[in-house]
Symmetry: C2
Subunit: 111 residues, 2 copies
């Protein structure tokens, strides 16, 4: 089991690609909307206030990255979060950002 060995060039590209998928506000909105269970595309379009085409594309991207999973039911397609590390990932980043922002606020009002 490789734990902390330096990553190969290929591995780095994979990691970078995964971060890139998460680097779009619209995709984060979709992920966030799915935190409380699966939704179909139309619902997601409503929640995120994006066009249907765009939402569909982003859902494709997220599914290809194995972050979401699809389930077809008649005319509708339901998406859900399939990667359990996603919530933890978001928590980590949010926590880090909170700290960073609190520090900045401190700098704005020193005394």
């Amino acid at each position: 089991m490789p734990k902390h060995r330096p990553l190969s060039e290929d591995a780095l590209q994979l990691v970078a690609a995964r971060f890139a998928v998460l680097a779009e506000p619209m995709r984060l909105r979709l992920i966030q909307a799915l935190f409380d269970g699966e939704k179909n595309v139309t619902e997601l379009v409503g929640v995120t206030e994006g066009t249907q085409a765009n939402v569909s594309r982003h859902l494709q991207t997220l599914t290809a990255a194995h972050i979401l999973a699809r389930r077809k039911e008649g005319l509708q397609v339901f998406y859900r979060i399939s990667d359990p590390t996603i919530p933890k990932l978001c928590e980590l980043v949010c926590g880090s950002l909170e700290k960073s922002l609190t520090r900045q606020i401190g700098h704005l009002a020193p005394e």
Copy 2:
């Protein structure tokens, strides 16, 4: 303390921006090179096999994102990881990718 409330639009942009910073192989190489302590720019150029200009730029980006910190000593500038969540972040992603890849390998050789 906000824990699992839906993020505002601004917050989403910040999170996305942070992921974007981590979405470059060269920057990941730099981060990886700094896991075992601080290094100056020339050392980092050597390790990552990039041009000096490029490495310098990426270091700027990482520092602006509060992921790295700078320390000047004479002519040299030493960089180090300043955000303690970065290693955990990378671990999470790597673990998730390993699982994903193992699953794919399983598909290639089912029995």
